[in-house]
Amino acid sequence: MRDALSLLRKSPWSARFGLFIVFAYVFMAVFGPLLTPYGESEIVGFEYEPWGPEFLLGTDNLGRDMLTRLIYGARNTIGIAFITTVLAFLIGCVAGFLAAVLGGWTEQAISRFNDILMAIPQLIFALLILTIVGTSVPVLVVVIAVLDSTRVYRLARAVAMNIVVMDYVEVARLRGEGLWWIMRSEVLPNALPPLVAEFGLRFCFVFLLLSALSFLGLGIQPPTADWGSMVRDNATLITFGDFTPILPAASIALLTIGVNFIVDWLLHKTSGLKDG
């Protein structure tokens, strides 16, 4: 605990700013229902009401409170992006460690398959699959997780390759430890630092991809509050010079900036670079 505090004291302002943003968002996501004056999809007024004491940020295209939906959006958008990223890491790390530990044709097969998946632009691939299976949250999570796990796989394999040649892994093999044990107890702990930084980056990508899909009307479906679709639904207001519809997009941008600042700091620390 003291280590963490002293680390924090030495951190640059950008990383502190990032940490602050992330904590604020998590707080909003967890305590959303307590903070909001109205229900998530409750129609409380007329369409497009201006800012005022009753509706702090006005109402949306169906007369729902903007602020309420913005706060619920944190819960849905961040929650789904987080679950997706975790799933992507599960798939990517297991495949990557397997490839590194087993080597040989297993590695070749997984790597070549991975190359092909990576050759297709993610958004296009996601759109293709969503056309066929239709949009629902579980489908969305699985599709994006699988697409994103290709990037995780690359890193996980590269990191694990450097670990499996170490003597202690050799010892574990000779001791007769199983594949799973080697992956979990020898490779994983030593591969953790770069993977943690990567987790932040991947989360940003997933978050942006999800928002993009929602913005296109193909992601999280109404009436669930979600930042991408909120921008889309209220976009007409922008042509009247009102920036309320940009607020959900700004919320997305702010969170990704925060995470990026933290990752930048982590990478800086782990790489030991002073500048560059």
């Binding site: 950008s14 190359d115 092909i116 050759a119 297709i120 632009p121 958004l123 296009i124 691939f125 759109l127 293709l128 699959i129 969503l130 056309t131 066929i132 299976v133 239709g134 940003c204 942006l208 928002s211 993009a212 913005f215 296109l216 009307g217 193909l218 991408g228 921008v231 889309r232 976009a235 922008i238 042509t239 009247f240 010079g241 920036f243 519809p245 940009i246 997009a249 700004a250 997305i252 941008a253 990704t256 900036i257 995470v259 990026n260 600042f261 930048d264 500048d275 560059g276």
Partner: protein, 318 residues
Amino acid sequence: MTHILIMVAQRLALGLLTLFAVSLIIFLGVELLPGDITQAILGQGATPETVAAFRRELKLDLPPHERYIAWLGGIVQGDLGQSLANKREITELMGVRLQNTLFLAFIAAVISIPLALGLGILAALYRNSLYDRAVNVFTLSSISFPEFFVAYILILVFAVHLGWFPSISNIGHELGFWERVYRTIMPALTLTLVVVAHMMRMTRAAIINLLASPYIEMATLKGLPRSRIIVRHALPNALAPIINVVVINLAYLIVGVVIVEVVFVYPGLGQLLIDAVRTRDIPVVQATGLVFAAAYILLNLSADVLSIMTNPRLLHPR
């Protein structure tokens, strides 16, 4: 020289193989995924007759490998099939839109590449200065922005408040070249802001990486000015990674247009793809998806080839 040709040929072959595999995935996606596509589209209440008719229309009654060969054969001959929604030829639907998308990507590239290289070289030149740090924070932020955020901010500022540019870019062939450029500026600017950051950071990193090498130290000791060292000595050697990142970003431009086109109602390929996804017009989705994937793969391939060709160590083997 010959081993470079061999390497290039290898990459080309690999690229073609990838393209083939991608076409297979795009086509067989319909097959491999669970659930019956006809029911998903027609709904649960469809009568067996309509389902059968629909399957015949999609040629789903033929075995998959026959359909795949027919589909691929058609594409090679320039026949992409018909749209399910309006029965028009897909090549006809895509023709002008493909041109529009390429036009947009071209304008964005013309703005962004010189800008990114210039900013990157300046950042390397004035490393750790206030300018460098400001650029660093700015680029880190702009990487984090969703495209539609950038797009709507531009609309709010330039279209609504200042009134300089239209917020909707409806371009057509009847317009003159400059009018088309004028209407394309806003989406192009959005794309520029999205890609410049990455290219700039890589340019800066590539140059700074070289600054520690002995020959640069030699040039410094000779008393050459810093700007000359960077432009004449460091830049040529940093060219390979820079070209690489530029081409990768071009590939990104081709794909990134999807969202930007939707925001600005720009009549391009991305818009077509999204409309097709919404109406679940599978042949159109497959065709546009394939075109996008092919452009992406080809550009990534040329990035590979270019970085081999500009690598001095490979060009002048000992």
